[in-house]
Amino acid sequence: MSQAVVAKLKGTFAASVLDVKEHRGEVTVTVKKEDIVDICRYLKEEAGYNFLCDLCGVDYLGQTPRFMVVYNLYNITTKERLRVKVPVDEQDCCVDTVSGVWSTANWPERECWDLMGISFTGHPDLRRILMPADWEGHPLRKDYPLQGPGRDLYQGRLS
């Protein structure tokens, strides 16, 4: 079923779908970031993915593009999951917000901005959420030291 949705998605947004992967029975679609809002709206309205479970960023330090923003979607009617990913460059570290598609994206996007430093264009209230408002840096980035700012990178518990 997820595969059928992916096939339809490929038909509608042929130029946007970069990659489709299946791992442990879960389908992941990587798409271009310019079209993320349109694709999300399509998945919600046409394919029935009416529930955004989770949204987060992943830092692949050393690779280009450096970041991935991951959307875990759920269809409450057919009880199926689908994962959509968007590559984000370090130089142009922003994605359009999907909080207009699912209101639930509001806080997870704030969290992603706070901890990963990926900004969301058009977000209604993009403030830090877990870290203090005057904090500098984004702690979940791979080049952010585990033991706090200004410390060496953690080398394991025996270092």
């Binding site: 791992h23 442990r24 879960e26 992941t28 009416n50 529930f51 955004l52 479970c53 989770d54 987060c56 992943v58 830092d59 991951v70 875990n72 759920y74 409450i76 009880k79 999951r81 994962r83 699912w102 209101s103 639930t104 509001n106 806080w107 997870p108 901890l115 830090r128 959420i129 877990l130 870290m131 203090p132 702690p139 979940l140 952010y144 585990l146 953690y154 394991g156």
Partner: protein
């Protein structure tokens, strides 16, 4: 002409009815809430960052500390996610699966008991608090017997369980669930027909099914708005497909109906535990996957191979092949999800937790704006939040 002014007040982070360190900035017009802005993060411990620097086995104890009222549910979500990442989901022994279901349901009862106790206390019904904590204490004792800890259980393992059930444990559980439905009747007797309780809950903090889905509510909070969705039935994990239980939904969309949903859920949990007890057969408690699971203690102390095996797993851990998985479970408070990314090393490359309370709390402003200040307390209670998992 009279001027209309609003007043801004701080509720929390040290307010007893914010269930932890939640701060709400409320803009009030008289007693009516015009705007509510939650501030969170006071308990942020960086669990996701920490886990990236620990092996998979060593990241497990961090998960107890998320929703500390339901530690075993957190452990369960984590071990299921890692097992999926490893591709060993089918190899988990039957006994381990049954014990997991049994403990997950006891945890649900335990979590709902604290919810009911504090929710009722917040809106003025003190007696229920004491009764609920009496029953919760029994579950805590079982936790202690089983894992050695009353709260931070750390009992499940990737591949199965850390220890087998202690002697007489099944009888303890049976005695408890024999008595539990009677206790729930007692709570209902104190609250359901109580005029004050009804006034404080019926029609309070309403949210329609459509809005609830849009804002991301899950669990009893969503089922109280009439959405029939329970991951135990719809995307079964750890053998839930073999159990017979009802998914409770009610259409009132208000605090009272969410209260009824949770109470009935406790009764259903008792039914599931009865079935689990009947299914329980002697057998192995860990999967036969030596590269992942620790060897039995007797092998470690009696053979050099066993010792080396244990040493390898403790020092090096195991390395799932690169890939990513998402595992959602029906935790007491809603959908608890773990999104795990592996890069082929012994540490999780990325572990994103989707805590139900975090997303549920987002609905709070929508639920309270336009209502009375006193209803904010009821709304926080009915969402059943735990700041440990919101802030992580």
């Amino acid at each position: 002409m009279a001027t209309k002014e609003t007043m801004t007040i701080n509720m929390g982070p040290q307010h007893p009815s914010t269930h932890g360190v939640l701060q709400l900035v409320l803009e009030l017009d008289g007693e009516t809430v015009v705007k509510a802005v939650p501030h969170i993060g006071f308990l942020h411990r960086g669990v996701e960052k920490l886990s990236e620097n620990r092996s998979y086995h060593r990241a497990l104890p961090l998960t107890d500390r998320l929703d500390y009222l339901a530690p075993m549910s957190n452990n369960l979500g984590y071990v299921l996610a890692v097992e999926k990442l490893l591709g060993i989901t089918d190899q988990i022994p039957e006994r381990a699966k049954v014990v997991r279901v049994m403990m997950a349901e006891l945890t649900r009862i335990k979590s709902h008991l604290v919810w009911l106790a504090t929710h009722a206390l917040d809106i003025g019904a003190m007696t229920v608090f004491l009764y609920c904590f009496r029953e919760r204490e029994a579950i805590m004792d079982m936790y202690e017997k089983l894992s050695g800890a009353r709260m931070t259980s750390n009992y499940f393992r990737v591949g199965g369980l850390s220890l087998d059930l202690p002697e007489g444990f099944e009888n303890d559980v049976r005695d408890f669930i024999d008595a539990m439905p009677g206790h729930i009747d007692t709570y209902e007797g104190l609250l359901t027909g109580n005029k004050i309780w009804q006034k404080r809950t019926i029609g309070v903090a309403k949210i329609s099914a459509e809005d609830a889905i849009d804002i991301g509510l899950t669990g009893p909070a969503l089922r109280g708005s009439g959405v029939d969705w329970d991951l135990r039935r719809d995307n079964p994990y750890t053998g839930y497909e073999d159990y017979d239980f009802k998914v409770i939904t009610r259409d009132g969309c208000d605090t009272f109906d969410r209260y009824k949903v949770r109470l009935d859920e406790m009764r259903e949990s008792c039914k599931i535990i009865y079935q689990a007890l009947d299914k329980l057969q002697p057998g192995p408690i860990l999967a036969d996957v030596p590269s992942v699971c620790l060897p039995a203690k007797k092998d470690v102390v009696n053979s050099i191979e066993g010792l080396i095996h244990q040493f390898k797993i403790i020092t090096e851990g195991f390395k799932p092949e690169p890939g990513e998985v998402y595992q959602g479970i029906e935790a007491p408070k809603g959908e608890l999800g773990y999104y795990m990314v592996s890069d082929g090393s012994a540490n999780p490359f990325r572990m994103k937790i989707r805590p139900p309370s975090f997303v549920n709390l987002q609905a709070l402003p929508q639920m309270v704006e336009g209502s009375l200040l006193a209803d904010v307390i009821a709304a926080i209670g009915t969402l059943d939040i735990v700041l440990g998992e919101i802030d992580r």
